[in-house]
C-alpha cells in the first residue's frame, strides 16, 4: 500500500478570461486528504476567481479541475455534495432566523439533516441561544460563525474557506483559526483556506500555494517553504564596522549590509542567531536589537508590492 495521501483537489493549468481580461493565467495546485491547505496571494491575485471556479460558480476558459478524483464538469453534484464552503463573506437571508437559514441550505445539501443536528452545529460555532434571531441583527463575526455552521451541516469531507477572517476583530480571528484547527484535528476534515496574510496561513496550514497575477508562483509544505529559506536578520549595534569585522572573521556570512544607520543586516539560518549574538557580545560589540524576517515573507511582500 502506498503511504501517499489521497489527492482531494487537483487543479491543473487553470485559465479564466472575462472578455479580454485574463483573471487567471496558469494556476495549478494539489490538495491532499487531511491538509489544511493555504491558498495565498495578494489581493487581486486570482484567489477568489480560482475558488469560485473550483465551486462551479465560474466556468473556466481552460484547464483541468478534479475533486475527489472526479471531473467537476461531469460530476458537479457529487463533488458539491461533499464540499462545504464560504465564498468571500458569508451572506444569509437577512429576513430569516439563523436556524431557518441553516435549514434552507441543509435541505438542498444532498443529505437529510435533523433539527438536532442543526442545533448541534449552531452550538459548535458558539451561537447557542441566538438560533431564533434574525440574521439581520448579526455582526460580521456571528455571520462568519453561522457560515461555518452552514459549511459543516451536511458533514462534508472538504471545506473551502475564502478569506474567512476578513473583517474580524483579533478575538474573532483567533476563534475562527481555532475552529479551523478543530475541524481538521477533531473532525478529520480537509480544509482549503485562502488568505492574503502569510502569517495566518503559516499558523495553521501544513501545505500551501502562493499565486500572483493569476499564476502559481510556488507550492509545497509550509515547513519546507519556510525552513528552506534563510532569514534576514537586522541587528542594532553601537559599532557597525567592528560588528562586520567580527562576523566576517567568524565566517557567519560574507554578505553583510551596513547601509542602515546603527544596524547591520545579514542572511543566516534561524538557528545561527544566538551564536551571532554571542560572538558580537564576546568581542565587545553592544547589541541593542535583533529582528529577523523570513525571506519568504520578503518574497511575498515583494509580490504584493509588485
Amino acid at each position: 500500500m502506498s503511504d501517499t495521501p489521497e489527492k482531494i483537489i487537483e487543479v491543473s493549468q487553470l485559465v479564466k478570461y472575462f472578455g479580454k481580461f485574463r483573471a487567471i493565467e496558469d494556476v495549478s495546485f494539489d490538495v491532499y486528504r487531511g491538509d489544511i491547505f493555504g491558498f495565498l496571494g495578494p489581493n487581486g491575485a486570482g484567489k477568489s476567481t480560482s475558488i469560485r471556479t473550483l465551486l462551479s460558480l465560474i466556468k473556466p476558459t481552460s484547464g483541468i479541475i478534479k475533486v475527489f478524483n472526479k471531473s467537476l464538469i461531469n460530476d458537479r453534484n457529487f463533488i458539491l455534495s461533499k464540499i462545504g464552503c464560504i465564498v468571500e463573506k458569508p451572506d444569509f437571508y437577512r429576513y430569516l432566523s439563523a436556524e431557518k437559514n441553516i435549514e434552507i441550505f441543509a435541505r438542498i445539501s444532498g443529505v437529510s439533516v435533523s433539527k438536532s443536528k442543526i442545533h448541534e452545529m449552531i452550538e459548535f460555532v458558539g451561537l447557542k441561544g441566538r438560533e431564533k434571531d434574525k440574521v439581520s441583527g448579526f455582526s460580521h463575526g456571528m455571520k462568519q460563525r453561522l457560515g461555518i455552521a452552514q459549511t459543516l451541516i451536511h458533514d462534508p469531507e472538504l471545506i473551502i474557506l475564502d478569506e474567512p477572517t476578513t473583517g474580524l476583530d483579533p478575538q474573532g480571528i483567533i476563534d475562527i483559526r481555532n475552529l479551523i484547527l478543530q475541524l481538521r484535528n477533531e473532525r478529520n476534515k480537509t480544509v482549503l483556506l485562502s488568505s492574503h496574510i502569510l502569517s495566518e496561513i503559516e499558523l495553521i496550514a501544513n501545505r500551501m500555494v502562493i499565486i500572483n497575477k493569476g499564476k502559481t508562483i510556488i507550492q509545497g509544505t509550509v515547513s519546507e517553504l519556510l525552513n528552506a529559506q534563510t532569514v534576514v536578520v537586522s541587528i542594532g549595534v553601537d559599532n557597525k564596522e567592528k560588528a562586520k569585522e567580527v562576523l566576517l572573521n567568524d565566517s557567519f556570512t560574507e554578505d553583510i549590509d551596513t547601509s542602515e544607520p546603527e544596524h547591520i543586516s545579514l542572511q543566516i539560518s534561524q538557528d545561527q542567531i544566538p551564536f551571532v549574538n554571542k560572538a558580537l557580545c564576546d568581542h565587545g560589540v553592544n547589541v541593542f536589537s535583533i529582528e529577523s524576517k523570513r525571506k519568504l515573507e520578503d518574497y511575498f511582500l515583494k509580490l504584493i508590492n509588485a
Binding site: R52, L57, N77, L80, P90, D91, I108, G110, Q150
Partner: protein
C-alpha cells in the same frame, strides 16, 4: 431535490415583507372600488347604459356582485403586473444582491432545477394574488352587492349574461388573466437572471409592458404586423369569455401567443442562468 428547493423558495417568498405588498395593494384597491361603487355605483353604471336607455329598459339589480367582479378585473389587470414583478423580478437578482446566490449555487443541485423551483414558486405567488383578487372581487362583492345578471359592453354592443351562466365565465376569465400574469412573471424572472439588483428587473418589466401597450394601442399601420404577437395585446383576452357567441379561435390564439412567450422567455432565462459567472 427539485421539490425541496421549491419548498425553500416558498419559505423565502413567505418571509419577505415585499410579498405582502401585492396582497395588501389588491385588498386596498378592491376595497376602494367597492366602497366607491357602494356610494355612487349607479351613476357609474348609468354611464354605460345611457346610450341604450332610449331603446331598452333595465330592471333588477344591475349593480350586482358580478358587475363589480367584472369592473374590478378590468381595472386591476393593468396594475397587477407591477405587484407580480415586485416579487418575481427579485427571485434571482435579489439573491445576487444579497450574496446568497454564492451559497445557493454551491449546493448539489443543478442551476436548471434552482431556476425552475424559483419559477414554480413565482407562479404559485402569482396564483395566490389572482386567487385573492378573485375572492375579493367575486366573493366579497356578492356579499355586499348581491347576485344578478351581468351586462357587458363590448365593441359590438351590449351583452347580457344571465346569472346562472356567469360563474364558469369568471373562472375561465381569471384563468386566462392568470396566464397573462404568468407571462409577466416569466418576463421579470428572465430580466432577473441578467441583473445583480432587484430594481432593474422590475423597472425593465414595467418598461416593456408600457412600450408594448403603447405599440398595441397606437393606431399606426406600421405596427399592425407585430401587434398580434405582443403579449400585452392578449392581456385583456379574458374579456372574450364574456362575449356571446364565444370567440373560441381568438381565445385559443391568445393562449398560444402567451404560452409561446412563456416558453421562449423561460428558455432565455435558463440559458443565461446556466452560463452565468457568479461574480457578486
Amino acid at each position: 431535490m427539485f421539490w425541496k428547493s421549491t419548498y425553500n423558495e416558498f419559505i423565502k417568498i413567505a418571509a419577505k415583507p415585499r410579498s405582502y405588498i401585492g396582497l395588501g395593494a389588491v385588498t386596498l384597491l378592491v376595497g376602494i372600488i367597492l366602497f366607491a361603487m357602494k356610494l355612487d355605483g349607479l351613476t357609474y353604471i348609468s354611464f354605460i347604459t345611457a346610450s341604450f336607455e332610449q331603446s331598452l329598459s333595465f330592471e333588477g339589480n344591475i349593480l350586482n356582485g358580478n358587475a363589480m367582479a367584472f369592473i374590478i378585473l378590468q381595472m386591476l389587470i393593468i396594475h397587477i403586473p407591477l405587484l407580480v414583478a415586485l416579487v418575481t423580478g427579485d427571485l434571482v437578482s435579489g439573491e445576487a444582491a444579497m450574496g446568497t446566490i454564492r451559497l445557493l449555487l454551491t449546493k448539489p443541485i443543478s442551476r436548471t432545477q434552482i431556476l425552475l423551483s424559483k419559477y414554480v414558486a413565482g407562479c404559485a405567488y402569482t396564483f395566490i394574488i389572482i386567487l385573492w383578487m378573485c375572492f375579493l372581487a367575486l366573493g366579497v362583492s356578492k356579499l355586499i352587492f348581491g347576485n344578478g345578471d351581468l351586462m357587458v359592453l363590448n365593441s359590438e354592443g351590449l351583452v347580457i349574461l344571465q346569472q346562472g351562466d356567469i360563474l364558469w365565465r369568471f373562472i375561465a376569465g381569471f384563468s386566462l388573466a392568470f396566464l397573462s400574469l404568468v407571462t409577466i412573471a416569466t418576463l421579470s424572472l428572465t430580466f432577473s437572471c441578467f441583473s445583480e439588483n432587484s430594481i432593474g428587473p422590475i423597472v425593465s418589466t414595467m418598461s416593456v409592458i408600457i412600450l408594448f401597450t403603447i405599440i398595441g394601442t397606437l393606431d399606426v399601420a406600421v405596427f399592425d404586423p407585430i401587434r398580434p404577437f405582443l403579449f400585452t395585446t392578449h392581456t385583456a383576452a379574458w374579456r372574450s369569455f364574456f362575449e356571446r357567441p364565444l370567440p373560441i379561435n381568438s381565445i385559443i390564439n391568445s393562449i398560444v401567443v402567451l404560452l409561446v412567450h412563456i416558453a421562449v422567455l423561460l428558455f432565455i432565462a435558463l440559458y443565461k442562468f446556466n452560463r452565468k459567472d457568479i461574480l457578486s
